[in-house]
């Protein structure tokens, strides 16, 4: 009886969710399946940064980090299983790494009080923190991406896109359709003509779309692609001799994987990004010393500095900084998910802070607040140099057109609040 009472008491204590002695960060990775080539570098970057903090600093604020990796195969059902199987471990924040998984986790994580960070993907209107209390999508979202691409084109065209033709080649899915409304609104504002070219999953056959582009000769092509669709699109663009420097992909169409198969012909292709590229940052010296040379790298160490490795590292850095902020707010080293959420909501990323972390000019400056979970909407344009086999940033961080986007975000968030019975509050 005494044993039973003790067990019950222990169970009750665990269910109440006390602050754990470790900071637990689950990694919903996909190292297998059709998208593994993209999932591996992100997962490596995410893991290596946390390993660096453990090895060099003893964790965050002296509290060790425990990362739990769970394989989703980029499959929504498996992603939800991963969430369910790891949330009881004291998980502080989820980076679902898939728009499909994010949509499934929005109600679940909100009910469980665990924050979700869908960085550059997921539901765009989650930027409205008064409706999506536990969902964060800083520093930029899909609509920011569309607007940054148009602003870049405005810069290249003397500030006017009047009479220009812009084609959107997109993955025929909820993700791919995200920028359409934004581009339509921007088309009205700037006077360009938008044509839409959907590509069915997986996107291995795109002859019809690129023949249409060859016939209609748009001035620019914007792409929201994923996986094999990206490689085929770059190859088909090269086949029809479409000028690569007039072809811009969103950040999920901007990894080395997307351009290398086309070889030299991909030279000049542009892609958006919300973080810097390459490995010329002091933090990579520490990663080499404390992680790779110590034999503790998540992968073979051959992905360091690639676009997606840097994105994973950047996501881990933002999670660690939010945890530090939470530790400061609540004056505690061990954190609960609710405290982590407070840290994310008070996150401020400045250039001085990034320089201190060994990541000068690695990402845009931004602040998060209760009303704004999406940051300030800055993105940059990178260009592929096939001979050098590398990306380089060709613009500063450009802010998206908040005059156009803010009302769209509010409209979509309010519609979600109404259908979900949420009372917006901050």
């Amino acid at each position: 009886m005494k044993l039973k009472m003790t067990t019950l008491a222990l169970g009750a204590a665990l269910a109440a969710g006390p602050a754990m002695a470790e900071l637990v960060f689950p990694s919903l990775s996909y190292r297998t399946g059709p998208y593994a080539a993209n999932g591996i570098p992100f997962a490596d970057g995410y893991a290596d940064y946390f390993t660096l903090l453990n090895e060099r600093d003893g964790g965050i604020g002296g509290e060790p980090i425990r990362m739990i990796e769970c394989e989703t195969g980029y499959n929504t059902e498996k992603g939800v299983e991963c969430y369910e199987s790891t949330k009881g471990e004291g998980a502080l924040v989820y980076q679902p790494l898939s728009t499909g998984i994010t949509y499934q986790l929005i109600p679940k994580a909100t009910a469980d009080g665990i924050p979700v960070h869908s960085m550059g993907y997921g539901r765009t209107s989650a930027k409205d923190g008064s409706v999506f209390s536990n969902i964060f999508n800083y520093p930029a979202n899909y609509w920011d991406g569309a607007s940054v691409a148009i602003k870049h084109l405005l810069d290249l065209n003397g500030g006017s896109l009047e009479g220009k033709k812009i084609a959107l080649v997109y993955h025929n899915s909820a993700y791919g359709k995200e920028p359409i409304r934004t581009l339509e609104e921007l088309g009205k504002k700037h006077g360009f003509e938008l044509s839409l070219l959907p590509v069915d999953h997986p996107g291995q056959e795109q002859k019809s779309q690129w023949l249409q582009i060859r016939r209609e000769k748009p001035d620019n092509v914007i792409m929201y692609g994923w996986g094999v669709m990206n490689q085929v699109a770059v190859q088909e663009a090269a086949n029809i001799r479409y000028p690569m420097d007039q072809f811009i992909g969103i950040w999920w169409s901007g990894s080395e994987n997307d351009v290398r198969p086309a070889g030299e012909k991909a030279n000049g292709y542009k892609a958006l990004t919300f973080h810097n590229v390459g490995d010329d940052f002091p933090v990579f010296d520490d990663i080499q010393k404390f992680v790779v040379d110590a034999g503790k790298a998540a992968g073979a160490g051959d992905q360091i500095g690639t676009a997606l490795y840097n994105r994973g590292l950047y996501a881990a850095m933002l999670a660690a900084e939010a945890a530090k902020t939470a530790q400061g707010i609540h004056d505690t080293k061990a954190l609960t998910p609710a405290q982590m959420r407070d840290g994310m909501e008070a996150l401020e990323i400045t250039e001085a802070k990034m320089a201190d972390l060994g990541l000068p000019n690695f990402g845009p400056e931004f602040t998060v607040s209760c009303e704004n979970h999406g940051g300030n909407g800055y993105g940059a344009v990178a260009q592929w140099d096939a001979a050098a086999d590398s990306w380089s940033l060709i613009t500063d961080y450009i802010q998206s057109d908040q005059d156009v986007l803010a009302p769209l975000v509010t409209e979509d968030a309010q519609a979600f609040a109404a259908e979900s019975g949420i009372e917006p509050s901050c």
Partner: protein, 329 residues
């Protein structure tokens, strides 16, 4: 020539070329189904596995290097050489023959006489197993497929049609090469089936394997032969599709493009796979150009291919060239 007519002809020609690429995948299904009655779900993965193997051999990659390094604590990834494409293709073919032998000895030999659905389920297992082995052997990074095939706009056709019609047609050099190779492949397979001892034995097994067995045909040998031929076809398909998109795990999904071709052309006819491929290719491209893109918002090709195949099925359930099954009771 009116502009719209020129565009339509260009789309028609590109549809034919796309159809050839679909047919290349469908051919592998037909070969195995015809000889053994097995619908090989793993055909797409075989194309992926063949392409991975070829790209890995060309690049001098050490197979299972991650596994070896993890067990032995070594750090080896490459042999440090590049293998010429032709030799690499031969070596890949040896691997595919080895795979055919292993599949026959370890899987299907033990399932002789089982229901077709059991054999189908076995191929599903084989597909996932092969995908995992491919990942373990060669890694999951995207590889370039460079066996020297030309790719991109054919300038001669562009110039000639521009001079004749005022609009230069786009035809991809890779598609032209694929068409020639597919034609040679079909001629070769038909001649092999008609004029060689093994080919005749293969046809005998396809017609009635018990009767073939009674006259001394080795079923095991024929089935290994058929799986090897399907492996060869998978290698050709893997080269063509891998050249277009790079060699990556999505390559296995090309099987989805072959299904409507099979439904239309029949599961048992080699010419049916080609004709079916051409009809699907032209049909989906013309529908997208004339109706899909202007009126339905585009991206109609995937569902239209299946709808076209279903319409054919209503009138000819065995497919255009399939054998009509008459069972007397």
């Amino acid at each position: 020539m009116p502009e719209q007519l020129a565009f339509t002809i260009e789309v028609f020609l590109n549809g034919l070329m796309a159809g050839v690429l679909y047919a290349l995948v469908a051919l592998g299904f037909v070969l195995i189904y015809k000889a053994s009655g097995i619908f090989n779900y793993a055909q797409g993965v075989m194309a992926l596995f063949a392409a991975l193997t070829l790209a890995g051999i060309i690049d001098g990659q050490v197979p299972f290097s991650h596994l070896i390094n993890a067990i032995l604590g070594t750090d080896i990834h490459h042999f440090g050489w590049h293998v010429p494409a032709f030799l690499a293709i031969l070596l890949t073919m040896v691997v595919m023959i080895g795979l055919a032998y292993a599949v026959q000895r370890l899987v299907f030999r033990h399932l002789v006489g089982q229901e077709p659905i059991i054999l189908f389920m076995a191929t599903i297992g084989l597909a996932y197993f092969l995908e995992g082995v491919g990942d373990l052997m060669w890694g999951s990074d995207i590889k370039s497929m460079d066996v020297g095939l030309p790719q991109g706009l054919n300038t001669w056709i562009d110039d000639t049609t521009f001079n004749a019609f005022g609009y230069g047609f786009f035809i991809d050099n890779l598609d032209i090469v694929a068409s020639i190779i597919a034609a040679l492949l079909v001629i070769g397979l038909v001649m092999f089936a008609q004029y060689t001892k093994q080919g005749r034995a293969m046809r005998a097994v396809a017609d009635d394997h018990q009767a073939a067995l009674s006259v001394g045909v080795s079923l095991n040998f024929i089935w290994i032969l058929v799986w090897s031929l399907a492996g060869f076809v998978a290698l050709v398909a893997g080269i063509m599709w891998g050249t277009k998109s790079g060699v990556q795990f999505s390559l296995s999904l090309i099987a989805l493009k072959a299904l409507p071709v099979l439904m239309l052309g029949g599961f048992t006819s080699i010419p049916g796979a080609i004709v079916g491929g051409l009809i699907i290719g032209v049909g989906e491209k013309l529908f997208e150009f004339l109706i899909g893109a202007p009126f339905l918002g585009g991206a109609t090709e995937n569902w239209f291919a299946y709808m076209l195949a279903l319409i054919f099925l209503v009138f000819r359930p065995q497919g255009l060239f399939g054998e009509k099954i008459i069972e007397r009771v």
